[in-house]
Symmetry: C2
Subunit: 201 residues, 2 copies
């Protein structure tokens, strides 16, 4: 009746894959360890061999999400391109990931009730800040970005991108505003990063 039993392969990976699918299609409230086990034709206690509890599975899902987000942020920029082009690629990468994986993004940035225990997760979250800092530092080197401590710029810049992505993914923007908004955010961030005109030329 069933095509095959599953318990030979990589159950951990299969659980994560199926969990992400359920998260995407039915939301986090519909995620149940027992249902995952049923889907994979495994006893309901089997998942506990790979994830000590439900939160551990959610954390693993979020961590995998951060890794995919990082690759989305670091691809798409031509090697020798301008700061504006690199920023545009980063914004498109972030927003593209967010709209393609809205529930996962929610999970990734969910407030942790447990303060520590998730340090790998907060470290992964801060990698986005690191990517923004790299971009800003490079732009400062070429003179396309105002001088000063990089954190003073990359934090507000990333906040704008992160905030826009969150609003767009949450469906809080009218569709046409969401589309046009992306370019507006890029332009806004460019102005925020631009050198002072008075000292220039």
């Amino acid at each position: 009746m069933h095509p095959r039993r599953y318990h030979h392969g990589d159950l951990r990976a299969a659980l994560l894959e199926r969990a992400e699918q359920v998260l995407r299609e039915k939301g986090p409230a519909a995620l149940s360890l027992r249902e995952l086990a049923r889907d994979l034709e495994v006893s309901h206690a089997a998942p506990s061999r790979h994830f000590k509890d439900k939160q551990a599975l959610l954390d693993a899902l979020a961590l995998a999400g951060f890794e995919r987000l990082d690759t989305a942020l670091t691809t798409g920029a031509a090697p020798g391109s301008s700061f504006a082009d690199r920023l545009g690629a980063l914004v498109r990468g972030y927003v593209g990931f967010a709209t393609a994986n809205p529930q996962l993004l929610d999970l990734m940035y969910a407030v942790k009730h447990d303060p520590q225990a998730t340090e790998a997760l907060t470290a992964a979250a801060q990698r986005g800040l690191l990517r923004a800092a790299e971009l800003v530092t490079e732009g400062q080197r070429t003179g396309e970005v105002r001088p000063g401590p990089a954190e003073r710029l990359c934090l507000p810049a990333l906040a704008a991108v992160h905030g826009f992505a969150g609003l767009a993914a949450g469906g809080l923007l009218p569709p046409e505003e969401a589309a046009a908004g992306l370019d507006d955010v890029v332009a806004f961030v460019l102005r925020g990063c631009a050198p002072d005109r008075t000292t220039g030329t």
Copy 2:
């Protein structure tokens, strides 16, 4: 044994109040209708008279959160103050609310699986955008903000504030960065809104 039975007062309001307390102290996963009923010394079926299901209670919680956020956004600005001062007040109001109610903020902006059914909620969410638009329009009137369609500016500006508040509330920023970041965000948004220097004076 029990101090008193509860079933006389406003059970709906009592449920919301207790639910928010549990959300704040123990996170959303610990929120259970049955436990709320137990806390309020009421049968476990009583809440269904006031909220058709658990999601309805969460939605009501989120809606109340948006109302409190709106008052936080609209207070704190002196009547005749500058655009910079008004913007600073709005940012402090937003970030103050976010850090004081991190779990509630998460709930308010959680991705809705149900696409409609929550239109009151998305309308409430868009009121923040409306407040930003008012601020921008007023700034354009006084010449402190660059001209053009207000949405082109208020969406990126609010995205920056919203994104920063989310990062700060989620504990993803080192504490000293979170404190200094607020002023950086204000300065960044001011630059993004400022009129072009070339046409000025």
